[in-house]
């Protein structure tokens, strides 16, 4: 697939999809979305990129090996779960911090649940790219 239009278009589209995937993940707690959907969206962007420009370019754009990303994701998810132990809660109990919270407004919520979702995102993203890149290259 050697089309200039596709290649140039894909470059922007992939970036756009990546940003969109973050957005999908972050809003997931209150709207449709979340780590699984975000990870799949982000991976789709890179799969598109790999199809258009080849896996060499896609790997270069990613900078990190996709399997490393997947493993890190697993580690982050686990760390988020273990984090509850610091507060004497059961494994994988969500821990919340509300920055600037008032009586009526919850402010900016930060939570171990969000960290866990980021871990899920990275696992799905990394695993799919591991598969697709390897298949594109080896088959």
């Amino acid at each position: 697939m050697n089309s200039v239009i596709l290649r140039v278009g894909t470059r922007y589209l992939a970036g756009l999809l990546l940003v969109f995937s973050f957005y999908m993940m972050l809003r997931g707690h209150n709207e449709p979305g979340g780590g699984f959907i975000g990870g799949l969206t982000g991976a789709t962007g890179f799969v598109l990129y790999a199809i258009a420009c080849g896996t060499q370019d896609a790997r270069a754009a990613l900078r990190v090996m996709p399997q490393t990303i997947a493993i890190w994701g697993l580690g982050i998810a686990l760390a988020a779960g273990l984090f509850a132990a610091l507060f004497g809660d059961a494994l994988f109990t969500g821990q919340w911090l509300f920055i600037g919270a008032t009586e009526t407004d919850k402010g900016l919520p930060l939570s171990s649940v969000l960290v866990f979702d980021i871990g899920v995102y990275l696992v799905v993203f990394g695993s799919i790219l591991t598969l697709v890149f390897a298949m594109e290259e080896e088959i």
Binding site: G28, H29, N30, E31, P32, G33, G34, G35, F36, I37, L40, T41, A43, T44, V47, I51, Q67, A70, I71, G73, L74, A77, L78, G81, L91, F92, G94, W96, K106, P109, S111, V113, F116, D117, G119, V120, V123, V124, G126, S127, I128, T130, L131, V132, A134, M135, E136, E138, I139
Partner: protein, 752 residues
């Protein structure tokens, strides 16, 4: 084992010394409990183990268990000391000492346990550790075979035993042994008494090698001699006897109990003593006399009289002492001369005087000469046999015959090799080192000491043991050397005459027995045929079930699913099926039709591209179902995954050859329709029955107030059920890495 005693009698250093000290410490501890037990008290110790089932780590020290504990730890100490020299420098001595010590501890646990489940755990532990010990010389095929045989026979018995214990616990409502005994005769009147009895006896008879399960015991002599001395004289095989004794207060007194134990015991005793005389190998001969002793003990446990119980307790101790010491003596002879065949041994008394003394003391006790404990034991045996109300003549006759044969065997094993004949040429025997004769001497001397001062044993062990068995002090009978001129004494004299006659004519007797026994079927050979048959059956059914064809595996799996579901539906009656199509709209129908069309296209197509497209249609159709029915998250996920599936399939599929034309297979079609129909039916049944929404409602009301999330699905995934999700993403990583690894190996050019 030819080649004399080990040069280095220092043994195996610390691996040799530590187990001996450990066992001696245990013995000292149990000995310190003697005064308490002699005062006819009991000690009970319990820790909660599985409280929800009422199972405790409960231990009970009473007369019976202390007698066993002292025998186990005492003989254990001497055997470990002996082994340290017997196997000096053996490269696997550490392993041996570990197995032997582990066996000893399991055995102690078995006799001390006061909980049925705990008892079973230790029971199985003795089976396993004895398997290790019998098969210790694992490079010999015979040794492996015999170890496996012992494991199979006692293990199979163990399963029956477990079933019996479970029934027993169910019948009595408790797993505590002392609790069961405290219920008195309630068990005997219980409807489950007979099944419990049969199952328990199946376990104890196999473990204690009663005819017809006896064949494994002589084979277990493949173990190193100290192991035989320990396992098969004083401990392992007595486990079955112990359990029968333990359950005696709760289960004895019925006709079934009386006759089963009496008949099995008597047959085993006579049969085994005949077989013992037939043997020319010293160790084998001893092995069969062990069977005889086990038969005798079983026989006594069948009764209830105080004489029988006292005889049981005394004979138990006598036998352990002389049998262990004789086995150890045989080990000495074996190392010294390199053979255990009676006709190749002679005149060893001159060269091995200390061993000879030990052998003589033990043999006199075994033969039942005064003033040895064996004599008292024998007198009590006769008294006990005569006290059998129903068949005194039969039981006393069996006892007389086996005792006389025992005397003859004692002569063959412990007299003849030392004091008759000459040392065959080519042998240069020596006296054993002290570590090896000290055990036999101590054990054999105890037989003499207790014979002369029977009160020592009476107070310390026999009386408390009999009380454990009968629950009454009054039942205990006096241990005495001179009990007056009575029928037991006459029987004793008859035993001596008959026994000496047997000994004098043992060569001729052996020849007669040889002919007689070749006529009856050999259970050991039968065992081999049984195993061959089992292997043949396994092979046949493996070929049938595991034929290496994926298609038949799948066919079997799907057939099982369909048959399981459909037969269950037919058997339990078809569920109410409500065909409710009132709320179906055109969009629902069209989505369903689209999905079905996609599936049918995938089914019939011979084109890869069409197949991919058909799968895409199905995926999209399902995504639309998710959209229509309020599952936005699922729908998005489905669509994204569908995209990726198409990408992957397109990448791989086009590198593979095109699809061959598929012929129509009627049996496959019928099975497919059956599986599909059963899934539909189940699902319709499910949706026709009420739905329990408690979990969903919990998530709905707590999602925002407690987990601060408005998207309930996402909150379930990352908060309520986060651990599940973690497991799932781990699976995703593993799948990706495995696929990656599979692909990367192709690159190295090994494409054949």
């Amino acid at each position: 084992m030819a080649g004399g005693f080990p040069k280095d009698t220092q043994g195996n250093g610390i691996t040799g010394a530590v187990p001996v000290i450990f066992a001696a410490t245990l013995f000292a501890y149990f000995a310190s409990l003697l005064p308490t037990i002699a005062a006819t008290e009991v000690i009970r110790l319990s820790l909660p183990w599985i409280p929800s089932l009422g199972i405790e780590l409960a231990f009970l020290v009473d007369g019976l268990s202390l007698t066993f504990s002292l025998l186990i730890s005492g003989i254990g100490t001497l055997v470990l000391l002996y082994s340290n020299t017997y196997l000096a420098g053996h490269p696997q001595y550490a392993r041996f000492a570990l197995f032997l010590t582990a066996f000893m501890v399991s055995m102690l646990g078995l006799v001390l346990a006061d909980d049925l489940i705990l008892l079973f755990v230790f029971w199985e532990l003795t089976t396993l550790t004895s398997y290790m010990l019998i098969g210790f010389s694992h490079d010999a095929e015979k040794s492996r075979r015999n170890a496996l045989q012992a494991l199979f026979v006692t293990g199979a018995g163990g399963l029956a035993f477990l079933a019996g214990l479970i029934l027993l616990a169910a019948a009595t409502g408790t797993t505590s042994i002392s609790g069961i005994i405290a219920q008195g005769s309630a068990l005997k009147e219980h409807a489950m008494y007979l099944p419990i009895l049969i199952l328990l006896l199946a376990g104890t008879f196999t473990k204690s090698a009663q005819v017809p399960f006896h064949f494994w015991l002589p084979n277990a002599m493949a173990a190193p001699t100290p192991v035989s001395a320990f396992l098969h004289s004083a401990t392992m095989v007595k486990a079955g006897v112990y359990v029968m004794a333990r359950m005696h207060p709760a289960m004895s007194g019925t006709d079934v109990w009386l006759w089963t134990l009496t008949i099995f015991g008597a047959v085993t005793a006579v049969f085994a003593s005949l077989l013992a005389l037939r043997q020319t190998d010293l160790k084998q001969a001893l092995a069969y006399t062990t069977l005889m002793a086990l038969g005798m003990l079983t026989l006594f446990l069948g009764q209830e009289s105080g004489y029988a119980m006292t005889a049981f307790a005394t004979f138990l101790i006598v036998h352990s002492l002389y049998k262990a010491s004789l086995f150890l003596v045989v080990g000495c002879i074996d190392l010294s001369t390199g053979t255990r065949e009676t006709d190749q041994l002679g005149d060893l008394g001159r060269i091995m005087p200390i061993t000879a003394v030990a052998a003589a003391l033990a043999a006199l006790s075994m033969a039942g000469f005064p003033p040895f404990l064996g004599f008292i034991g024998k007198e009590l045996k006769y008294a006990g046999a005569l006290a059998v109300a129903s068949e005194p003549v039969l039981v006393a006759g069996a006892a007389l015959l086996s005792n006389a044969l025992m005397l003859a065997v004692a002569g063959v094993v412990a007299f003849r090799p030392f004091w008759r004949g000459t040392v065959p040429s080519g042998q240069s025997p020596q006296e054993a080192p002290w570590q090896m004769w000290v055990g036999p001497i101590i054990l054999a001397s105890l037989g003499a000491v207790f014979g002369i001062y029977p009160d020592l044993l009476q107070v310390a062990l026999v009386t408390p043991t009999v009380i454990s068995l009968t629950g009454e002090v009054g039942e205990v009978k006096e241990l005495q050397l001179w009990a007056g001129f009575n029928i037991p004494l006459i029987l004793s004299i008859a035993t001596f005459i008959l026994g000496l006659l047997f000994y004098a004519r043992h060569v001729q007797l052996r020849a007669i027995l040889e002919r007689a026994f070749s006529a009856i079927p050999n259970l050991d050979a039968g065992w081999d045929r049984f195993l061959d048959g089992l292997r043949g059956f396994a092979k046949w059914q493996t070929q049938l079930v595991q034929n290496g064809k994926l298609s038949s595996y799948l066919f079997g799996t799907f057939l099982t699913i369909a048959a399981g579901i459909l037969l269950t539906l037919v058997y339990t009656g078809m569920p109410m099926i409500a065909v409710d199509l009132s709320d179906v709209e055109w969009k629902h129908t069209s989505i369903a039709l689209l999905t079905i069309a996609g599936a049918l296209l995938a089914l019939v197509t011979n084109s890869r591209i069409a197949g991919i497209a058909a799968l895409g249609v199905v995926g999209i159709g399902i995504a639309m179902i998710f959209i229509v029915f309020s599952a936005p998250d699922v729908a998005i996920t489905q669509l994204l995954v569908e995209t990726l599936v198409v990408v992957l399939v397109a990448v791989v599929m086009l590198r593979l050859p095109s699809l061959p034309k598929a012929g129509f297979r009627l049996n496959h079609a019928l099975l497919s329709v059956a599986v599909g129909a059963s899934v539909s039916l189940i699902l319709i049944a499910v949706v026709s029955s009420p739905l329990d929404l408690r979990l969903t409602e919990y998530f709905e009301v707590t999602s925002w107030p407690e987990a601060y999330g408005r998207n309930i699905v996402n909150v379930i995934l990352v908060d309520f059920r986060a651990l599940d999700t973690f497991g799932e993403i781990a699976v995703v990583v593993i799948a990706a890495l495995s696929a990656y690894a599979l692909l990367r190996t192709t690159r190295k050019g090994d494409q054949k």
